[in-house]
Symmetry: C2
Subunit: 378 residues, 2 copies
């Protein structure tokens, strides 16, 4: 078992839409929704909300900064879906790298918010939007297109998919893009406080095995559906496809989360046995990691994870987006990488870790072997 080629990351680009939404604005929107519900209850003669019910709408800037670590996030404009976020990031990447669309022969599009339900796939939309040629010398040009999803681990899963598919394509454009603002339940502060929108593009290129940044032993994956409902969207999937107007009004087609449960389950797992398993497979110790990047679900939670890892010997640097973009799901890890390009120096070893809905867990350890270009458009 040895992969006969390696992968290099040539460049990473991140785009975030211009509309900044502060914590205060999130709090105001939740309160407005609470007032709407109260008015509706009065109108139909229902009892007023209990204190517990009211609490679901209550948050403020201080609370969000203290318990989540986020200061602001970006929201897409109308009709700006994942494909539009991805396109901006991809164009910036190709321009910045002086590469042409014809250099791309694969697209792996990681997202939990596909631009269209069922069809068309985002990979096909991006091929067309970028102008990647589909014919050459009168013959169809082979292009590997694929949309992938694994909740909060979608990008990590896409990274491993790209790595393995370099057997089929020489240069794969790996997308991590999500319009999470479209999934917010405005009657539930748990996700309303955290979600944000961003698109990223990463150019993955086939190299000789000796130049490989990764390796067969550098990826680790885990899924555990026993806690699947801790992060879930109640209606609109094929399990419960019928969206009644009342479902829509109460945002049951949007994400719901038991944040406390996630923290209780995930912090010990990802800083303990999952980290041990990943390192054991790679034959590395914690103090050999120069950099680490975690899916930015909650910066306070990630800092608790980091604290535990430091106690256990981690001496490197943690890269993040600083709480300025919220939880951008499939974009979070490449966004943090693009924002911290100066740290991505050849010779350094970086651990990338996704965790969340499913539960799912995916990690990779890269040893940077070439200069890497990063671009931000925000």
């Amino acid at each position: 078992m040895h992969q006969p080629y390696g992968m290099r990351i040539v460049g990473i680009s991140a785009y975030a839409p211009p509309t900044i939404v502060t914590n205060d604005e999130i709090a105001r929107r939740l309160h407005a929704e609470r007032d709407k519900v109260e008015r509706h209850r009065q109108a139909i003669g229902a009892p007023a909300m209990t204190d517990d019910e009211q609490a679901a709408f209550d948050t403020n800037d201080r609370w969000i900064r203290r318990y989540i670590g986020f200061s602001e996030r970006r929201f897409s404009g109308p009709n700006e879906g994942s494909i539009d976020l991805a396109l901006r990031a991809s164009q910036r990447l190709l321009t910045g790298l002086h590469r042409s669309p014809r250099d791309i022969d694969g697209i792996v599009f990681a997202s939990v918010t596909p631009s269209f339900r069922h069809s068309p796939p985002d990979a096909a939309l991006l091929q067309e939007a970028l102008g990647i040629p589909t014919w050459v010398d009168g013959r169809p040009r082979e292009i590997l297109g694929l949309d992938v999803a694994l909740a909060c681990c979608s990008w990590m899963a896409g990274l491993q998919t790209a790595y393995r598919h370099l057997a089929d394509a020489e240069r794969i454009l790996l997308i991590g893009a999500d319009r999470m603002s479209a999934t917010i339940n405005w009657r539930d502060r748990s996700f309303a406080c955290v979600l944000g929108d961003a698109g990223t593009a990463t150019l993955c290129e086939r190299v000789d095995p000796a130049d490989d940044w990764f390796g067969d032993n550098r990826f680790f994956g885990w899924i555990d559906g026993s806690k699947a409902m801790v992060i879930h969207t109640p209606v609109g999937g094929s399990r419960r496809p019928d969206l009644a107007p009342s479902d829509m009004e109460s945002y049951r087609h949007c994400l719901t989360m038991d944040g406390r449960q996630v923290r209780e389950d995930m912090v010990p797992f990802v800083s303990g046995p999952a980290m041990d398993a990943m390192l054991a497979k790679a034959g590395l110790a914690l103090d050999q990691l120069d950099l680490q990047v975690w899916h930015e679900a909650n910066l306070v939670m990630n800092r608790e994870v980091e604290r535990r890892l430091r106690e256990r010997g981690f001496r490197g640097t943690t890269l993040d987006a600083g709480g300025r973009f919220g939880n951008t799901t499939s974009a979070s890890i490449p966004l943090a990488l693009a924002l911290n390009g100066v740290e991505l120096k050849p010779g350094r070893t970086v651990a990338l870790v996704g965790y969340g809905g499913g539960y799912s867990y995916r990690s990779a350890i890269a040893t940077i072997r070439h200069p890497i270009s990063t671009f931000v458009d925000m």
Copy 2:
């Protein structure tokens, strides 16, 4: 470039829910919907439908049999989503093969109708439902989970993904499952006549390179987003996330298709340049294919494709589901394989071809090198 291991398909299982829906029933439901729209128009004083508008609701058994080749299809029961279809197929497969859930260390779940939007992923749900162990000897057990989609090519894309991910997992359960009935626009006969529900499970196992059924040159992929809107779902994705009640009532969250355009574009493409490109890459001629299986979007269209290929030298057998299950999207190819298990004899070479939404095209050529077990539960 040479993959250091091969893939064998150990078994394929297909499940279709018990509710059979005939062409007559489809015609009646479309007519009932037409009457509903007419009554609504009368109620609001709108003009009656034109003949053209009426035609969108008009079909009958003879027309469907003649132009699509389908006689019936199956529909899921309430709350029976893709995960439930997949679970039935997976259980039948493992029982039939005398394999245990602990033999599985990877799940690739291909579907355009995920059980839940955003989260949890179907791969995690299936891990839990099957009881695939997540811990061993006090350590997290590595399990590769991934949901993939590429419209009508989702299963073909999943097959290639499984092939490549055998570097990470020894036995991958490849799912193709779709509850397409939940995506039907009952005001548009184009898809209402064709869609059906089914779940399939395929056990993909790592073998020595000499025993490989496939090979680096046995897959071909293509995407072309220039015709993306020929098969699409207007609202509900991140491009247009807001589902107004009027959108729901007019089924704008469901699939729409320009069937004539698909036929005009796809029949010449898949029987001509796409077939040539696939064969050239594999170094094979048409007369070397013993079997072929096409995504069963429309059996009349597939027979036209077959006719053209026979003119060009194809002398093998075409396997299909005989129009008894409709277009089951991610399930169609493995369903046809499971129904025709007797044909899957060692030594035979079989072409598998998906085409459709995106546009997307994916093909693979397998040379069967081991006995294969097939199971049907319907």
